[in-house]
């Protein structure tokens, strides 16, 4: 210690060379920013997806029509399915960036601690949701893979019919363990959103002291609404309310 200290990073070396976006994303703060933006995209998707899926309660025809309509948006201006692919590309990119940033930051943060505390930590502010973001995130990520296999590719259903979304859902959710996976994943999603939605306001720097307490209310409401909607489907099927 106490070795002669001159500016470790002198001003000269701080001049940037790479294109700004690369510089920006290279920094942890830039990555957080990317996570927040992609998080917002994902939020918008899960919210809209949940609302759309509520048609399940209206019966088979409305839901199947809705699914068909989704594929046809903007047709004939765009080829059939183009808009959907547009959304898919955005979604895939968002997921990829979100996960990449999460993984890099997790590693950096682990390194930043160095040696762990050797006695028990006592957390006062960091709640269960915030401390398990990477696990709730991973659960949701794995779930999406399963979910695609299940309801997009029909891997779990020999009678899978692309046109009968309603039937596919009911068939899957009647299987108890598939329903259970949906329940667990959506609970994880709820926790992820409970912290994530609040957190993104901080990350984005959306901060007005007078309104700051509303950020938490919004996060809770968002998480609860999305989770309640999504949980209602497997539960309704299991209880025989839909089917």
């Amino acid at each position: 210690m106490a070795a002669t200290q001159t500016g470790a990073t002198s001003t000269a070396s701080r001049n940037r060379r790479r294109p700004w976006i690369a510089e920006f994303y290279a920094s942890s703060l830039g990555k957080k920013y990317a996570m927040a933006i992609t998080g917002i995209v994902l939020m918008a998707y899960v919210f809209a997806h949940m609302v759309g899926n509520l048609k399940l309660f209206e019966g088979a025809q409305p839901l199947n029509d809705y699914a068909a309509w989704l594929r046809e948006i903007a047709y004939p201006a765009l080829p059939e399915g183009a808009a959907l692919w547009g959304v898919r590309i955005v979604l895939i990119a968002a997921f990829a960036i979100h996960i990449h940033a999460a993984a890099v930051l997790t590693l950096r943060n682990r390194r930043a601690r160095g040696t762990k505390y050797q006695s028990k930590r006592d957390y006062n502010a960091a709640d269960f949701a915030s401390r398990t973001m990477r696990w709730s995130g991973v659960i949701v990520g794995l779930f999406v893979l399963f979910h695609l296999a299940d309801l997009t590719f029909g891997a779990t259903n020999p009678d899978f019919d692309h046109a009968d979304v309603y039937g596919n859902i009911v068939t899957s959710f009647s299987v108890w363990w598939i329903a259970a996976i949906y329940v667990v994943a959506n609970l994880a999603l709820a926790f992820h959103l409970y912290h994530g939605v609040w957190s993104l306001f901080q990350t984005m720097g959306w901060n007005q002291r007078r309104f700051n307490h509303w950020r938490r209310y919004f996060a809770v409401a968002f998480a609860v609404v999305v989770a309640a909607g999504n949980l209602s489907f497997p539960i309704a099927v299991q209880l025989g309310i839909v089917g």
Binding site: A8, P19, F24, S28, L105, A112, A126, N207
Partner: protein, 250 residues
Amino acid sequence: MDLTLKVWRQPGPEAEGRFETYQAKGIDEHASFLEMLDLVNEQLTEEGIEPIAFDSDCREGICGTCGVMVDGEAHGPVENASVCQVHMFNYSDGDTITIEPWRAAGFPIQKDLIVDRTAFDEIIAAGGYITVPTGSAPEANLTPVDKPIADTAFEAAQCIGCGACVAACPNGAAQLFTAAKVSHLNLLPQGQPERYERVVNMVEVMEEYFGSCTNHGECQDACPKDISIDFIAWLNKDYRKASFKQMRAS
């Protein structure tokens, strides 16, 4: 009161460390936490055991020199207090207290409970100042500062650089410390010319040593000066703006 202490002992930066158990006997409830340690050190010296090394100076919560984890909490159990401001009336006879140094890769342990926090100085050196050559300052009252702005800047300026935020943060992030200084200077009219360069340069050095913020809020809770994580949002905003300014410039 009588207490049992479990204290991290580590002879030097490279050496292995471990917990040692000591008895602290006959502690007065009006003694401060550090005076309790002084007393244990007197006992250890008598027994021929090298006293526990821990940092402190002002012992009134302003210099930021002291700081240890006490039972898993940075600066111990008292709200808005550094560990030198904790008094033993917060404990009861027979308690066991575990004391450990700050742990963060950016704060290497020097000995026992002492860590090296020079990384903080480097963050400040990177931009935590307003350039004003001695003697070149204009008349002070030429620049009025709105009272709400002045008050908020003051709130941020109170940071004592103790490092509890890093110690408490699950990610070992120094975001609160950096945000406090950035906000203090970036809020004031005097700080405007260097505003964006300041935040980019300080964040860059911060990230060399410390983790990133995922908004746990643990830092604010540990901070003896109650610095608000609102300033972290502030830092993020200025960083973002600065980056977009660079985009336009490049």
